[in-house]
């Protein structure tokens, strides 16, 4: 009596499962290889060639008076912060290079977690004056309105906190606000709640791509002084800041993995389109004719 089932490493179900997941695993592998060799692909550029948005933000920061107080509102989402992280860090480096005195506040719990991590990073890097931590303000838009009167926590100490208190202690004490937007609290809330009450306060925003259609009109109407809301603009800004100073934003997304990913996405869409076309061709002619006929 012989056993016909030979011992195998993987069961049939396991092989089928691996076959189904093979495209995703191959994509991850290709992205990893592309990330590794991305540094040696000089011909590819991710940065936007249109520098008007970059110039707007750089001009807004460049026009700040020496020792200006700048509030950074960290309300990004944990899920999308990686997209705007290099841009945000470049803006912080740009502001520091122009001698701005920074304070960080958050109106969302997720933003507070990111702000705490960034404060830790800045503290580890060292510097002349670390940003003042104004903590988390609860109440969403109501909290935002309340902060116009008072934004400095009673427990906050230090020269920077005192400087804000001397100038009124509210959002109006600042020369500019940099809004790192997320889905819960975006620059729109700032424009609607703060911009209407403090119309002279310049507000600049950094936002992930999905917020671009929502925030673009505020830039056009002048309610926002500057806006960076696409990956390519962010990379262009980070490169511009890195080129002008020793302090940089850290590594930015490489163009080669992005190109590979886009090609993979196009291949998936083309495959889906061809499959749909094939199904339509296989459909019986009578059925489609009956469908076209109204009666």
């Amino acid at each position: 009596m012989t056993n016909s089932a030979a011992p195998t490493l993987l069961s049939e179900a396991g092989v089928a499962r691996l076959r189904r997941s093979a495209p995703a695993l191959v994509l991850l592998l290709v992205l990893a290889v592309a990330s590794l060799i991305s540094g040696s692909t000089g011909g590819l550029r991710l940065a936007s060639p249109d520098r008007s948005r970059v110039d707007q933000l750089r001009r807004a920061i460049g026009e700040l008076p020496s020792g200006a107080l700048v509030l950074i509102a960290f309300d990004a989402d944990l899920g999308t912060y990686a997209e705007v992280r290099p841009t945000t860090r470049a803006a912080i480096a740009d502001l520091a290079a122009h001698g701005a005195r920074l304070a960080i506040v958050s109106f969302t719990p997720e933003g507070r977690a990111i702000a705490a991590a960034e404060l830790g990073r800045i503290a580890r890097a060292g510097g002349e004056e670390p940003p003042a931590d104004l903590g988390f303000v609860a109440g969403s838009e109501a909290g935002l309105v309340r902060s116009i009167e008072s934004i400095v926590p009673s427990a906050a100490e230090g020269d920077l906190a005192d400087a804000i208190r001397q100038r009124g202690g509210g959002i109006g004490a600042f020369d500019m606000v940099l809004i790192v937007s997320g889905s819960d609290m975006s620059a729109r809330s700032w424009v609607e709640q703060v911009g209407t009450r403090l119309p002279e306060l310049p507000m600049v925003a950094i936002a992930p791509t999905f917020l671009d259609p929502e925030l673009e009109p505020y830039l056009r109407s002048g309610q926002l002084t500057a806006l960076l809301a696409t990956l390519r603009e962010g990379v262009a800004y980070a490169e511009a800041v890195s080129a002008g100073s020793a302090a940089g934003s850290g590594p930015v997304v490489g163009p080669l993995p992005m190109l590979v990913g886009m090609l993979a996405a196009l291949a998936v869409m083309a495959e889906a389109a061809f499959r749909r076309l094939g199904r339509r061709r296989r459909r019986p002619a009578g059925r489609s004719a009956a469908r076209r006929s109204p009666s």
Partner: protein, 214 residues
Amino acid sequence: MNGFAGADLGGTVATWVAAIATIAVWSYLVGARRIFVLMQHLLAGLATGYLVLLAIRDVLLPRLAVPLVEHADERVLLVPALLMAGTLVAASWLPRPVVAPVAAIVVGGIAAFALGGAVVGTILPQIAAALPTTRAASPDLAGEVISLAITSLVLLAFLHGAPRGRLTTRGASIGRWLLVGGIGGWLGFLLVSRLSLLVDRVAFLLGDWLTVLR
């Protein structure tokens, strides 16, 4: 290198935990659903714990408890605020006529902020910015005319149930295709956005964890 973790022991442990969590989430790709569900539960638990901690440390203690204890005579309004908060917490056990006014005040307050801000901060300024001015011609006149035409056609696509002529029907059809084109363009933007997040995770594993990417 995302720079969130330092070079000390705590930073190294954080990097390893983040790397293992990333790979555990990706294990869903090969059908390891239990590990993925475990990661979901871990995220939900951590998020809840973090929110509770944030609420106690940054809101309830410094903005409610401490002012009530130390400056009770100056912060009289905090007493009804405390009562309202307590009512909402105990809403499941309290009769509806007690909870309803408190919930109405909360919802009304939020709506007032949102609606007032939307009218004064968005609708009116955007209408003002879109109106043609008597000054020199806009530098982007062609773009504005195209925007107006596209907006009108897309709005026509939402004309449901109204009597339509042949021209309106054709316009609505073009509007629908423009809408599809717009959504497609936006999805393209989103694809780039999400792809950058995936590339960032790959770079984290290669750079921060395996240190083969510099």
